[in-house]
């Protein structure tokens, strides 16, 4: 357990309102000046079924889920066995349950967690029109020491326009719940918040998907076409009303094939474009990504990964689209693959991807995942970045204009329709410099070289990876696995194990020299990822010189990578070193 953080889960069958209660709790925590993270766990049902709001709160920014829950409150036990594994309990955990819902199920009881029985249903009945989720909210807020004022302020925002009666009912529920706190004989309050010095940093509350949407806008995206697919849809739902405010627009396409091709059409017309999708949708878009490579048309695709293969587990996280993102395109098709490594980074990494795609006239794939995309966090205001869409255009093409001219850096000025004298045909067929289709070996070789060279010759700067710490031990990871790895490294340091972090953000093209520099002096490495087959590990082995000792730690979703299990791996490696 990270010092001074609190992990809790509100569980109930779909419709009991646990997500709503969790969301209010998170927002109230933000209101109180806390930091936090809320992950949603739910099944594939549209209504009903199991649901859990999993929160972690602290006075410092949160990187991911903890090893175990401190508090587990169940409104009912519907389908708990389906997802108990995602809600790890230990002996120090406290389980709050309503005796009216029957015995605590074995799957929970055998964890050895402490149990506290609170008659939630009965208490709820005591408030006219009351709701159990609001009673639970009052109870939890009281237990963790969340100021009532912050809770009421949040409720006011949420329920204010529904009238005074509704607010009063909610407040009565909170009060009735709070009164039950005495029955829970355990201390769950966070340590007192340190007195802030000077001006407090601005904090934001957002999901990774919203962050990606804002990153797209900041990068200069003004067109989007999309087909809904979980868990990526929130990005385009967020963009739909925002794009028109900046003079852009979003079109709902009939399928993913259409979505990516509409984006390509808009981009050909000079408008930076983005689409968002998840595994099966990405598979459908792959052919057109190859077209974007060959025709040198910039486009950004955010793939919010979920469990795969096939339809897999739509509502739960995994990092297993790595291989298709890196290798899915047919032919030799160099392209950009960028992975944000936190909710905040979804913003910067998407913005960077727009910038890179436009600068290099190529498709960029952003690999986010459900764990980041659909989790909502209270974070410090993200540092604004300057990355913009700056496409090299041919504004005054002469008689000798060649759209695919082989230039020193491989990037050729692009004539945007409307530009006098620049008419050319963009082509997915192999072509000569003018764009005319060609099957000649030298034309093919020349254009392949050009498209590779423009990506490998570009200076991506330090943002290619997050490299932190020192030591002969390194953890190499990517994406949302970075959060738990960072926390494991913090804990390891407290045990005297020093290790460095290499979180790779630019997955393609590979950066062998930068990686060699990052690995200088490293004798042992641990590779961490959320896949079944160790895709990231294999990718590293294929493209980089790794130290002699490499330990791979990976498991599939929907189980989150926990800091404790990474720490255990680090301990093993440190012991081997000592031996």
């Amino acid at each position: 357990m990270q010092a001074n953080s609190l992990s809790l889960a509100l569980i109930g069958s779909g419709g009991t309102g646990v997500m709503t209660a969790g969301q209010i709790l998170l927002d109230a925590a933000a209101q109180a000046g806390w930091y936090g993270l809320m992950t949603r766990s739910f099944g594939p049902q549209i209504r009903g079924g199991e649901a859990a709001a999993i929160l972690r709160l602290a006075h410092h920014p949160i990187q991911g889920q903890d090893d175990h829950l401190d508090l587990f409150l169940a409104l009912d036990w519907g389908n708990i066995e389906r997802f108990a594994a995602e809600l790890p309990l230990a002996e120090h955990s406290t389980v709050i349950a309503d005796p009216a819902q029957g015995d605590v199920p074995q799957v929970i009881a055998r964890t050895g967690a402490r149990q506290a029985m609170v008659p939630l249903k009965e208490v709820t009945k005591s408030v006219k029109g009351g709701r159990a989720n609001m009673v639970a909210l009052g109870l939890v807020a009281e237990l963790i020491g969340l100021p009532r004022a912050a809770l009421m302020q949040t409720l006011n925002k949420v329920l204010g326009r529904k009238g005074e009666d509704v607010l009063q009912t909610a407040e009565a529920c909170l009060q009735a719940g709070a009164e039950q706190a005495k029955a829970v004989d355990t201390s769950l309050a966070l340590e007192a918040k340190p007195t802030p010095e000077g001006e407090q940093p601005e904090r934001w509350a957002l999901t990774g998907n919203e962050a990606a949407g804002l990153g797209a806008l900041r990068g200069g995206v003004r067109f989007s076409a999309a087909y809904p697919i979980t868990p990526s849809t929130d990005i385009v739902e967020w963009l739909a009303p925002e794009l028109p405010k900046l003079g852009g627009c979003l079109v709902q396409a009939e399928d993913e094939l259409s979505a990516i091709n509409m984006c390509l059409g808009a981009s050909f017309g000079g408008t930076p474009s983005i689409t968002a999708t998840s595994g099966p949708g990405l598979a459908l878009m792959i052919e057109t990504l190859g077209l974007a490579v060959a025709s040198e048309t910039p486009v950004v695709v955010v793939d919010v990964m979920r469990g795969g293969p096939s339809t897999g587990i739509p509502t739960k996280s995994e990092q297993s689209d790595l291989n298709i993102a890196l290798y899915g395109l047919h032919g030799d098709a160099p392209h950009l693959v960028v992975a944000p490594n936190s909710i905040t980074d979804c913003l910067a990494a998407t913005q960077w991807s727009v910038h890179l795609a436009e600068a290099l006239q190529t498709p960029a794939l952003v690999l986010s995942d459900q764990a980041m995309g659909q989790a909502r966090a209270i974070v410090d205001k993200p540092i604004p970045m300057d990355w913009k869409a700056e496409r090299r255009t041919a504004d005054k093409p002469g008689e000798d204009y060649l759209r695919y001219r082989i230039t020193d850096d491989g990037v050729s000025p692009m004539a945007i329709p409307g530009t006098v004298g620049g008419v050319y045909t963009a082509d997915g067929l192999e072509h000569a410099e003018r764009g005319t289709p060609s099957s000649q070996a030298d034309h093919h070789q020349g254009q392949l070289d050009k498209r590779l060279h423009k990506l490998t010759g570009y200076d991506y700067g330090e943002y290619w990876a997050d490299i932190e710490g020192e030591g002969e031990l390194a953890v190499i990871t990517w994406g949302s696995s970075t959060g738990p790895v960072r926390e494991a490294l913090d804990r390891a340091r407290a045990e005297g194990i020093t290790a460095r972090l290499i979180s790779v953000r630019l997955l393609s093209p590979v950066q062998p020299e930068a990686m060699a520099e990052a690995l200088r002096g490293v004798s042992r490495a641990l590779v961490v990822e959320q896949t079944h087959g160790g895709q990231f590990h294999h990718y590293l082995r294929a493209h980089y010189d790794l130290p002699a000792t490499v330990q791979a730690f990976h498991h599939p979703g929907p189980l989150a990578i926990r800091p404790g299990e990474v720490l255990e791996q680090l301990r093993q490696l440190a012991q081997q070193e000592a031996a």
Partner: protein
């Protein structure tokens, strides 16, 4: 350096000014030559600046056509000309967007896009050079091939399927401008195209364009085609005309005044204002309405539906 002759060219463009110097891959006698001629004539009739026209296609013999014209072009992947053209037209309403391709590209692999482009009614013109055969892959049946055509090794007994009916489907799906032309009559086609390019919405033209290599019997098209469609804005009348159609009737079948698709408009804003919604301020973060807060009932008991796919 602009010469006097250049200036005359830019002030008055001739059909040949819209032709590129790239030699078509088409076989001698291919109907698509007539289509190319008609397109360049129509562009000249409208005196459209070359740089303000974009020509999008998919894959196939006819889809090579953008490279043969001297306007902006996009030669994409199989079946996806319409989405590319739609994205371009929506984001660049100042351009004249023309999409073209064959019956396989448009009605088979691209069939879904065809229906939805008809529904979406973006301002663009879609021209399908229909020869009822896959020419580029050497003679297989296409969606518009007769069910008993046994000329393909892939379907030696004939495809045995009902023929795809482009005009009926376009009409059902909501296309506001529907016509059929014949490539052997480039002037007639140019006239229709001129009208279609100026039409404010999705205009669909099926062009009977013979493939003399794999369907030599299509040389007879010139004897079979006959004018007959009377333009109407009445869907019932249009369907009645199709009931009497032998597949070779030409003319404008349907022309309706349906507003073209326009993307949403919104109050202008700026990035900082948009980002402000995430700020945890004096009043806390803005409550999200999606996906967490439905609050449809007192006390917020109901969680929103959880999406699957």
């Amino acid at each position: 350096m602009s010469t006097c002759a250049d200036q005359i060219k830019t002030t008055e463009l001739k059909a040949k000014d819209y032709k590129s110097d790239t030699k078509p891959v088409w076989c001698p006698g291919c109907g698509d030559f007539g289509v190319l001629n008609a397109i360049t004539k129509a562009l000249a009739a409208l005196q459209l600046p070359r740089e303000d026209v974009a020509f999008v296609s998919g894959i196939g013999c006819s889809s090579r056509i953008p490279a043969y014209s001297a306007v902006y072009g996009f030669h994409g992947v199989h079946g996806r000309a319409l989405p590319v053209a739609s994205g371009l037209a929506v984001s660049r309403p100042d351009l004249t967007v023309l999409a073209a391709g064959g019956d396989g590209d448009g009605f088979s692999i691209g069939g879904n896009h065809f229906m939805h482009a008809c529904r979406r009614n973006v301002n663009l013109t879609y021209l399908v050079m229909d020869n009822a055969v896959y020419g580029m892959t050497k003679g297989q049946a296409s969606p518009t091939t007769e069910s008993d055509w046994a000329g393909s090794k892939l379907t030696p007994e004939g495809p045995g399927l009902a023929q795809f009916q482009p005009l009926e489907i376009a009409l059902s799906a909501g296309a506001p401008y529907i016509a059929r032309c014949f490539s052997g009559d480039p002037n007639g086609l140019a006239q229709r195209l001129t009208e279609a390019l100026a039409f404010p919405g999705f205009a669909f033209i099926q062009v009977l364009s013979p493939c003399v290599t794999y369907r030599p019997e299509q040389k007879e098209y010139k004897k079979l085609v006959h004018p007959g469609f009377e333009p109407t804005a009445d869907r019932r009348e249009a369907f009645m005309q199709l009931m009497d159609d032998d597949g070779f009737t030409t003319g404008v079948l349907y022309k309706a005044d349906i507003p073209a698709y326009q993307p949403d408009r919104a109050e202008p804003s700026d990035l900082d204002t948009i980002a402000r919604q995430f700020r945890v301020g004096e009043h806390g973060p803005k409550p999200v309405t999606n996906p967490y807060y439905p609050c449809s009932e007192a006390g917020c008991a109901v969680d929103p539906p959880v999406p699957e796919d």
